[in-house]
Subunit: 219 residues, 2 copies
């Protein structure tokens, strides 16, 4: 389905929503599309959503693909985002970073919604905020992550999983579909479809769509 | 189709290819996914591809969505990328930037391949490098861009268009499919499919797939 609306119609619809700050975590080795896919979707909801980047410290953080993104704030800055996004990438270097995990615990307690993409879910799991919750993650890395964090109810076959305030997506590009699902939750599927048409993206609307689980013999 | 290969198999395949530098242009107001979608795809081809960002000057450039990317080099730096990527976004602010257009002309003359995403094609067209060539661009903005640059043979219904060394894609998310098509051109469709599976993306393989042209009454 494609929905065409004018820029003005879209702007009018979006302007009526409450303003929310999206705080996306960045760390050296973040996966490029994990971060910038959802940033595109939420950033296109301006002024309803204002995306900011929160890094281990303020300043440039290189992606796993090389080019760097600039963190607007560091973990010590008094920023309390309404929405939190945790990308994946080379998380092994950060899963033992106590300041980072404490930030995730503290800010998750306040936030309206906490999202992860790919193995960003491992940072949420390491922080303990997914204990007892249903969640998903990258399919290639699924078994190892699930084994390391047995308190989480890992769902193998899912593009994304919503469990209350926690929404976790499968690998890399799945973050884009998750972001649209969140926009649909807040603002309705019509607006999500209109935004998807504007970026010429055919979004997956079914959270159970997941050919990649089968590709990795996860059923 | 999904193809699963181990990281080691993929790394071995990729390591055998010639090394290429991908130089992606950035400017204030670049569209987030136009840039970072292809960066994900090409960056995942390391070490065969090394992505660098080239800005109006070196340093941070805010995206249209807010967060900033860091240009590794400026237009004056002596960098000659093998592959060039020009994202879209708020190009109206830059289409009159003579240094930028001259850089596009000079570097396109040397490059093995020149790509654009979305209305990044307008910068290529303004630089004159698409004269007489087939090309496509964002569908919502198509009519205006085509009217302003009549020397280009604009193709309305296309996910991407390959004309020799110039490959132009449709709006925003289309850049990801174009990037995979370029990887397939250099390294074969099997490797492109394997990389797509790793980022859990179902790529469009048909350059004529374009429901968004019809959505904008472009046939």
């Amino acid at each position: 389905m494609t929905v065409d609306v004018t820029f003005e119609q879209l702007a009018r619809a979006v302007a009526g929503f409450p303003r929310r700050t999206l705080g996306a975590l960045v760390f050296p080795g973040f996966q490029a599309l994990d971060l910038w896919g959802p940033l595109e979707v939420f950033g296109d909801c301006a002024p309803a959503v204002r995306p900011i980047l929160i890094g281990v410290e303020a300043g440039p953080h290189p992606s796993a693909q090389g080019p760097a993104a600039v963190a607007d704030f560091g973990l010590q800055d008094p920023v309390r985002p309404d929405l939190i996004l945790v990308p994946g990438g080379n998380v092994a270097d950060h899963v033992g970073n106590h300041s980072l995990l404490q930030w995730i615990r503290d800010r998750s307690a306040d936030a309206e919604l906490v999202m992860s993409v790919c193995n960003g879910a491992e940072l949420l799991a390491a922080a303990g905020v997914l204990d007892g919750r249903r969640a998903t993650t990258n399919k290639r890395l699924f078994r190892g992550i699930a084994a390391a964090h047995p308190r989480v109810q890992w769902v193998a076959r899912a593009r994304w999983v919503e469990d209350g305030r926690f929404v976790t997506s499968s690998g890399v590009s799945a973050g884009i579909d998750m972001a649209f699902a969140v926009v649909a939750r807040f603002a309705g599927p019509m607006l999500a479809d209109a935004l998807a048409t504007r970026i010429e993206y055919e979004r997956h609307r079914d959270p159970g769509w997941d050919p990649f689980a089968a590709a990795h013999d996860l059923g």
